[in-house]
Symmetry: C2
Subunit: 754 residues, 2 copies
């Protein structure tokens, strides 16, 4: 129990022990257990398999489990790679896999079925330690203890070897997450001397044109090294045959390269490796390495990394039971991994145009999974990471400026746009910051970028949408859900325009924001895909996610997706009573198995009735009861979702964490409020699961939350007192939080029915 | 006739009319007819075929003809690409092929057999104009006149179209010289607006890791554009399917891309394209474009380019007959194409380490074909391009500093080392400059670089060479010739060390320079490959080039390759009489056809007897008569070689021009002297073919050559007067040239036998 929660000027608490990076590593969470600092460029983590995304032209469905490289149930570790996405549903990265071994040199990773055929090692969770910015495991096949920590841009390995005349550290440039035959476009390595190696890996995957540079340094000179190029074909060898390129040859390039560095070790000898990344150059990586890790003190780097985590975790001090604390701070941890830093220590970074730019006055970030994170993660940042959120928006605007399509990011991925999912939800993130007054950038230029993006007729049905008010199902596979998303995004633009007195834009986008009406079929009471001729798409099935015009959701869920106008939605859907019944059914119905088979990215546990918490489009839905006559159902439902969907265990996440969105939903909900419509300054009240919390704001103020008579059964809010005055509404505003104050929930076991 | 040749302060003459870029484009010269400025980064030239180097795993021998992209006998032009090597025997480049067409859009190039199947066009030499920095041709299939000129970094196209509603300019990123399936590693294009396009092409060929960036701008907005990606396979498409990527989609990347830009044209309408290159970035290319070609005046760019040529050509003013003038100035032209500028206008360039560097105080060059050009081209530069030669050496030293192998360049190719051919002839170029006093760089560091390079035991037999005094034939395919080359290079290092008073190095390398003795078999009187056990390699055939331990030459030729010690060589080979007989036989014997079949890179015409002028190892050989009792044979033989091997015609070169080495041989020989051993300050006298010449030195002085009673039959030198005093030796020194003066040859039809 964190006893200082009531103290206004709380000192820095050690909250790292409550962070469990292992949460979500089993099954669907797609998180990774390895080392990273908040929003760091490096995510140094074990990969338990490296199976290819595609082999011989066929998709390998098993690869899906390995979005973050690690699956808790696996028995072997292939190695430790330096970049990982956290909680995504498609993947990439896994750059520069390293593996320490002893004995016979093996340069292929082997397979899970035949682990001894390759350099992978068996391991046990008994020897595994996963903390914020620290990971430790024993590699049983080799009797090597591997420890990992990281600074922002440098992964720090510490391998404790047995005595061996044949110790190796393998650097595998072939390995990667979601790999396939041609994913490696090029790799390049230079052995600069007997401790320093530099190079890069260029891939074409989710990031179509992506290069990551490295500089690595060993704490001890290697005795020798070797290279094997696994390229099936290398047409021109020419005069390179002068050299023995496989042994101690320092200039290496090709598409499929694995290297080994050889040592002799004493019993318990530690060999350390500092491995720096850069998006710019090997020179940049070396600068990062020398700046961030000038010494060889592993313990100190770990302590500094954990201190960085504590600083971020201390932004919210809670009192709660043990599981609640672990859930909460693990969620805080997962919320603060992505987006990731994407610039060198000198501010230089590679832009979408593949040129080198300098971030002036902001940190440049990448890894924006905006379809997910606009919902709650960026709103959370506006409260507890306002500076970073503004920098993220600056990064998004830089992306826009570098885009020859002239579009804000959809999914920004290491100087690439991967276009993943739908909508143009950058505008939600920007509008939310502008409306909430966290916008230290040129807001009018930002609005222009939003407008130009939203008028991009050739992008995903926008032309149709602008002309017809909806996207026709015969033109677009996600016609209905995308229409709904555009309508919400347009409302965001309108809110921003209103604040900036840009009346014409306000009018244009307010009108567009009503387009949700155009995909509503009153005859069935559901949102429904519509054809070019105005008719609704045939063979409607509101439970099906297949071929119905909705992405990652069915009409049952998406029919509730008008976050910016719940009252109008309720009217449209037949009034409060009928709407309440729709919500009740959503959470309680039994979804036939055949529909589950159609869903994406979730386990059966990720579904409550027909409510799919594991996917994002319904994250606001439980809060919609607030707009009905039965708001207490929000309270009980939120608590029920928290109870069912979040556990501080390896399988504690029922769906992909999606770069922190699932975690951000938890953080808000645990605190008792949620941003139903980012772009509004209001947060809908729910039912806090914490006993108390202090939000320590960057402006020096604190916002305190108390839940009197908190308990597992006392999920119903009896009354709410804000700053000593009764709060006779179901929301609080952003300003009420940021000006500091105290929100007291009185909890009880029965709903208060008005 | 250039009548001002005798005038000391000659004004700038227009010598461009004597330059015939078409020379060497038929058969073996491997020159290109297109537009370039002296030592320019851009070589914008027509490619008459784009056949692949390899198809389905099999080498295509026909590709050899297309080292420079153009073969005079071809009937069609595929397009105009922006980079070409001049006179090489292996190849690369051919980046960014452009082709204007009208009518039906074709995006494949078609084949020579079925030209109408693709976008290539027939053409005729009747409409073709090839001048220094200007090329013009009519594309008969389309009735389009194409004109090309260039600045250092910008290719300037001017296409005169017929009236057409369907005019196209094709940008082919697949096409390249010595292409094969995986040569394109990646290409990237951005359509920035309706006139500006940027991008890059990354290849792995002769240059293993090579990227060239571009920025192109059209004089008229295109109406639309399209892309086709010819990659056989592109695994991950993901959400890119939101877009129609084939039409008007501005963000393009992949491995096999062709694009078209569409226009409507009036009769005789000119569309111009400025196409800038950079080794650094698209931003760099755009900077180059805006700096070098701020306007749209094609004629002015051409005039400026030709003025640059005139400035260089005026460095030697000759009087000669018409053919002699054309031979001479065409040779000057070919001598001043390579090496090529390799930096942006702001001095930034990509280094061997793939990082971006800035050239401080020098122009950074690449395209160093040093096995060829150390012989006469760089010595020529020390006389008439001293500043550039010093900058070239600085570029070589930068390459060394960026090399993790710690080696000076062997063949420097656009931030790559391609290791082509043998030896470490950088040291010859550096030593020549140091010995001749043209060394405005840190000479001691330069010597250190030479020594470290020459002691690189793992490089091409150096370890054996250092331990045994020769490279064993059982360890290395070019064991004998490489031993000879190392011995010469080592002598160069010794000469430099001597000048710098580095005695230990002088002693070490003087000793090494005698290693030519170790591959001489006195029992046969020839250089001969030797085995590890000391025995000579069996099955010796001094005429064969196959499996005898000699590269691009046979023992007959290579036995004469001790350029640094002709007197010792003569003694070793049995004295002057026997040596003279060897030389006589070389030039007069009839080489049986079976041996010709073994030779590389030459036509039958490129061989005189058994003397192979088309390859370089014998370029000094005709001058060796100077060390015998019959020096007049040098005179007649040189004149004979010039007569047979150089014509101002498309087939005027009997072998590859080899980045200017063949041309540099001609320039020296035409002036009457030649650097038999670069690294010495002496030039052996021959027989000038000019009537007179003025070398206009950068120091403001002139060195004048006169050949009294010059004539086709008067090839024998009767006496030589240097600065009004009889010259009683068969050489002049570098200082005698650079201090200014006058060298008068008195010519006659009979040798002067002393």
């Amino acid at each position: 129990m964190v006893s200082h929660a009531q103290t206004k000027q709380a000192k820095m608490l050690n909250l790292v022990p409550y962070v469990r990076p292992i949460v979500g590593t089993q099954r669907m969470g797609h998180t990774f257990p390895g080392a990273t600092v908040p929003f760091g460029m490096v995510q140094l983590s074990p990969d338990t398999d490296t199976i290819p995304y595609e082999m011989n032209g066929k998709y390998n469905p098993d690869v899906y489990k390995y979005c973050a490289g690690y699956q808790y149930d696996d028995k072997t570790i292939v190695g430790f790679s330096h970049t990982h996405l956290s909680g995504t549903g498609h993947s990439d990265l896994g750059d520069f896999l390293m593996m320490p071994t002893v004995g016979e040199l093996k340069l292929n990773p082997g397979t899970a079925d035949q682990p001894n055929s390759g350099f992978r090692s068996s391991f046990s969770h008994v020897t595994e330690v996963a903390e914020a910015d620290y990971y430790k495991v024993k590699l049983d096949d080799y009797n090597i203890v591997a420890e990992l920590t990281a600074t922002n841009r440098v992964g720090f390995h510490q391998y404790t070897f047995p005595k061996s005349d044949s110790a190796h550290i393998i650097l595998d440039l072939v390995s990667g997450i979601y790999n396939y035959e041609d994913k490696n476009v090029w790799t390049f390595v230079r052995v600069e001397n007997d401790t320093l190696v530099t190079g890069y890996r260029q891939t074409s995957g989710w990031g179509r044109t992506r290069t990551v540079y490295f500089a690595m340094v060993f704490s001890k000179p290697f005795l020798g090294y070797g290279t094997k190029n696994y390229s099936k074909k290398q047409v021109y060898r020419g005069f390179w045959g002068k050299f023995d390129q496989n042994n101690n040859f320092p200039e290496i390039a090709g598409k499929q390269i694995r290297m080994h560095f050889d040592f002799a070790t004493q019993q318990s000898e530690k060999i350390k490796v500092k491995f720096a990344l850069s998006a710019v150059s090997t020179e940049g990586a070396l600068l990062n390495l020398r700046t961030e890790t000038p010494a060889w003190d592993f313990e100190k780097v770990k302590q500094q990394g954990q201190a960085l985590w504590n600083k971020e975790l201390n932004k919210v001090l809670i009192t709660s039971d043990e599981d609640g604390r672990e859930n909460f701070y693990t969620a805080m941890y997962h919320a603060f991994i992505n987006p990731t830093t994407y610039m060198d220590v000198d501010g230089s970074y590679k832009g979408l145009d593949q040129n080198i730019h300098t971030a002036k006055g902001f940190i440049n970030y990448t890894t924006f999974s905006l379809w997910d994170t606009h919902r709650a993660l960026h709103p959370l940042f506006n409260i507890i990471q306002p500076k970073r959120n503004a920098d993220m928006i600056q990064s998004m605007l830089a992306h826009y400026n570098q885009s020859s399509l002239h579009m804000l990011p959809v999914w920004s991925n290491s100087a690439n746009e991967n276009w993943c999912m739908t909508g143009y939800h950058s505008v939600s993130v920007i509008a939310d910051a502008v409306v909430k007054g966290n916008a230290p950038f040129d807001v009018n230029k930002a609005l222009d970028a939003c407008v130009i993006t939203a008028r991009h007729r050739s992008y995903d049905g926008i032309g149709y949408y602008m002309d017809m008010g909806y996207i026709p199902a015969d033109k677009n596979g996600s016609s209905a859900s995308t229409t709904l998303e555009y309508a919400y995004d347009d409302w965001c633009i309108a809110q921003m325009a209103k604040k900036l007195n840009r009346t014409a834009i306000y009018n244009e986008f307010s009108k567009r924001s009503e387009n949700y009406h155009n995909v509503f079929d009153a005859s069935v009471g559901f949102m429904r895909a519509r054809m070019s001729d105005g008719s609704f798409k045939k063979n409607f099935d509101p439970l099906s996610t297949a071929n119905q015009g909705f992405i990652e959701g069915n009409s049952w869920n998406y029919s509730l997706y008008v976050p910016h106008a719940p009252a109008e939605l309720i009217t449209m859907m037949g009034g409060k009573k009928r709407f309440t019944a729709h919500l009740d059914s959503l959470f309680t119905m039994e979804l036939p198995d055949k529909y589950f088979a159609e869903t994406e990215d979730i386990t059966r546990d990720g579904i409550i009735g027909n409510y799919v918490h594991g996917n994002e489009p319904s994250h606001h839905v439980a809060y919609l009861y607030n707009w009905t006559d039965e708001p207490w159902k929000t309270q009980s439902t939120i608590r029920m979702i928290m109870e069912k969907q979040y556990h501080p265990l390896p399988d504690g996440l029922g769906g992909n964490d999606d770069c922190g969105q699932m975690s951000a939903w938890y953080i808000f909900s645990a605190l008792g409020f949620y941003p139903v419509a980012p772009g509004s300054d209001q947060y809908a009240l729910g039912s806090p699961s914490v006993t108390s919390a202090i939000i320590q704001l960057d402006n020096g103020k604190t916002f305190t939350i108390e839940a009197k008579d908190q308990g597992n059964k006392n999920v119903y809010v009896q009354k709410v007192i804000l700053d000593d005055k009764p709060l006779n509404r179901l929301y609080i505003t952003h300003q009420e939080i940021t000006q500091g104050g105290k929100l007291v929930f009185y909890m009880g076991s029965s709903p208060v029915i008005k």
